[in-house]
Amino acid sequence: MPDVVEYAIRGVPMGCVFALVAIGIVLTYKTSGVLNLAFGAQAYVSAALYYTLRDPDRFGWPMVPAVVVSVLIAAPALGWFLDRALYRHLRTAPPVAKLVVSLGLLVAIPQIVNLDFLLGSQAKLAPPGVASEDPIYVAGINTSANEIVTVVVAVLSVLGLGLLFRRTNLGLQMRAVVESPRMTQLAGVNADRVGSFAWMLSSLFAGLAGVLVAPLFAQLTDLDFFGLLIAALAAAVFARLVSIPMAFAGGIALGVGQALAAGVLPADNVLSTGFRSVLPFAVLFGLLLFWPGLRDHAGGGDPLAGVDPPPPSPGGFVRPRWMTVLNRSLAGAGLVVFVVATLAVFDEFWLRVITQGIILSLIFLSVTVVVGLAGQISLCQAAFAAVGAFATAQLVDKTGMSVLVAMVVGAAVAAALGALIALPALRLSGIYLALATLAFAVMFENVLVPLEAVSGPTRQLKVPRPLLAGIDFANNRAFLLLCTALLALVAGIVLLIRNGTTGRALTAMRSSELGVASLGLSTGRLKVIAFAVSAAIAGFGGGLMATFERQMGRQVYQANFTFFVGLVWVVLVITLGARTVPGAVTGGLSFVLFRQILEKVLGVSATLAGSVSFILFGLGALTYAKHPEGIVEAQTQRFVRLVSRRRAHPPDDAPTAVDPVAPAEARP
């Protein structure tokens, strides 16, 4: 047969894999209103469980009981649990809150599963399929029983789910519950039960996908599933997150497209290999930019949204004077203690670790601007930081300019990139914008980072410490103080922006883009400004990291700026408080110090310390729905209320019907 046809056919099994995952994502979104980024993690749970049950060194079960337990029992059980514990309470929350929760789960679930007392973290090599993987030949092309099963399951699920949604009452109810739980209840449907069932169904699908897909990998890891998920997102977005047949078609097209590209494009050509590496993500990005009709279906359309009492209104909280005074004095005292400790107490190890934390805090302030102030979920902050770092290193290396100047220029480069990324933001919002930033981060990592023109040679570029006012900051103590001063400077700038016109406009835009537009303000311009400023801050922090490490290249990137780490950053800052400086600073310090304190001070094993940190960071995101203002702010308010209980007046009893998830406007 002609080559092209052969390549296309060879792409079908992989296409069915993409289709399965894409169908799962669409299914979840249709039936629960959640863009479940943790779908891959859920798939991993079932795949890991199946592996453990089939492993002759552990349980050694045969295929059928293992499938029954891992796919038919464990997966829906997990889904039911997630619904009961979390998503049920988020039904009327905005889609962005649900996305944040799914991000937290994405981070936490694999770490939980890999704990020693659960499935354990030993290498899971050669995951078995559900059917034999011995080759079977169809029209001269090799396939296997397992592949055929995957194809059949994909096709059956399209048919089955289509039937479910179009012909059955249950399907209709599931979709109705997503649109408006209250209305559905008024029609006599138990929305909670339907919602639970929806989660169980989509989780079952995740488990099925996990078990079917696992044998593709020589070794089973959760990150592979996440990679698969991101690629399949292109097909899901193609389906506008609602059409299962289109998700199927998109998945097949993606698989066939990849195979055709591999077969037809010249092999061994830098451009073509680069293109093939990013094909799914570039498609995703392109769809997000140009595909018409991408709208958040599950958000804001509920006519009865106002019926539910709004969540505890953060409005009415004005910081009493004594609190501000207390804050200022504590901060002052803390600063003095910190400076003394830096100069006299910390040894080189803790100096290093704390400096890293301070630099991260600075970078996290970029999240404060774009997420906290402007309300845009950006998942590519790590890429912006990396751009600043690379630019700083390259500038110093190629032009010999002073480090601090290079950092500022690097920030400007990052800002320009941020403004570019904002362009898709102009027509997208909420979850689609988040996806666009995610696609960008992945493309950056796969295409731009490997280029020597961007990241320098293998031996990495050397970056000197700054020399300022006669002080050589090669001394780590001095450098830590410098970083702290820079952190304070950037924090000051963020506060100025927040309290200024731009900040107020951004806060307004966060609540109502339409309201802001009706005042004559261009939301597009505001978003571009927010992204540019945020990217500049991240880039500046990245440059600071480069001079801290005294080198910059792909290795430093791997250790600090991968896109996955960027996700954890956002989760952490949002959890702790995206709108306040203390939120960002706590985030940066926790990210580095939490694990170290567990290990070095409390004697926990390094592996466990790392797992526990990630688990807590992830689970922390689950508080977001209840406390959109963040944990730090929530606890502060609680403290203030406790103390001034007798003095407070009861708040006005009739809240207005505004968007329920309202962030607090608090001053630091």
């Binding site: 209104s313 900040g503 309201g515 009706s518 207005t656 309202a662 406007e665």
Partner: protein, 252 residues
């Protein structure tokens, strides 16, 4: 002098004709009422006039110029303001903040450089301007309260204040009295009349409350199923049997 003129505005949503060849005109300083049963297309018309939606056919002229495909914020800069049926307030911000943001937007004041220099300080003239509008609307006492904690009526007044402080030539009010009781409605009507008297502003008002419409509007346009079924002086139109049938369901 004709300030706003909509001619032949048509809008379809996947098979449903929401607006069918609608004409609407409003002169300077006029108060025009837009009434009709629920689902008649009133908010859709507002959305078409303010740029939230693009009509499939027809033209919208403001001060004689075709607005074409001008974006929402650009129309706002021409002097068109609006309030919303489902209020678009800014959660977590105080009443003063709302007006301040609107005021600064109107005067194109502020921006990143000035933020960094001025440290968010509110200039006395800004404060005065905001307070004046607040006083007019009876909102001075609530000035520093976050809008989340306010009652529905007060919230609507805030939206109104936000619209008025931008010194518009034309304001679209979308059901400003919905959810208010008789007393509150009367208060707001009085406030609105006073505010209108002081300013060079035209108002196009969507409202169900017939009494309020009678008090405020000189002219009325009636929509039903996307079509204009009557248009003219308020009292005349309200007597029209076709209007009564469609709107009030009365067949006498």
């Amino acid at each position: 002098m004709t300030l706003l003129e909509a001619r032949g505005v048509t809008k379809r949503f996947a098979g449903i004709v929401a607006l069918d060849d609608v004409d609407l005109a409003c002169d300077e300083r006029e108060i025009v009422g837009l009434i009709g049963p629920n689902g008649a297309g009133k908010t859709t018309l507002f959305n078409c006039l303010t740029g939230v939606l693009r009509p499939d056919a027809g033209r919208v002229l403001f001060e004689g110029k075709d607005l074409g495909a001008l974006a929402v914020h650009r129309r706002a800069r021409l002097g068109i303001a609006r309030t919303f049926q489902r209020m678009e307030l800014f959660a977590g911000m105080t009443v003063r903040d709302h007006l301040l943001v609107a005021d600064r937007a109107h005067r194109r004041a502020g921006g990143l450089p000035s933020d960094l220099v001025l440290r968010g300080r509110i200039h006395p003239s800004e404060r005065d301007r905001v307070d004046r509008v607040l006083a007019q609307l009876g909102l001075l006492d609530d000035g520093d309260r976050p809008v989340d904690a306010l009652s529905l009526g007060t919230g609507r007044l805030v939206e109104l204040g936000r619209a008025l402080i931008t010194e518009p030539r034309l304001v679209f009010l979308d059901e400003p009295f919905s959810g208010l009781d008789r007393i509150e409605t009367d208060e707001v009507v009085a406030t609105l009349q006073a505010a209108h008297a002081e300013r060079d502003v035209a108002i196009v008002l969507v409202e169900h409350d017939v009494t309020a419409v009678q008090h405020l509007c000189e002219r009325v346009v009636v929509l039903d199923y996307g079509r204009v079924i009557a248009s003219g002086p308020t009292d005349t139109v309200l007597e029209d049997p076709a209007v009564r049938r469609a709107y009030l369901g009365v067949t006498e």
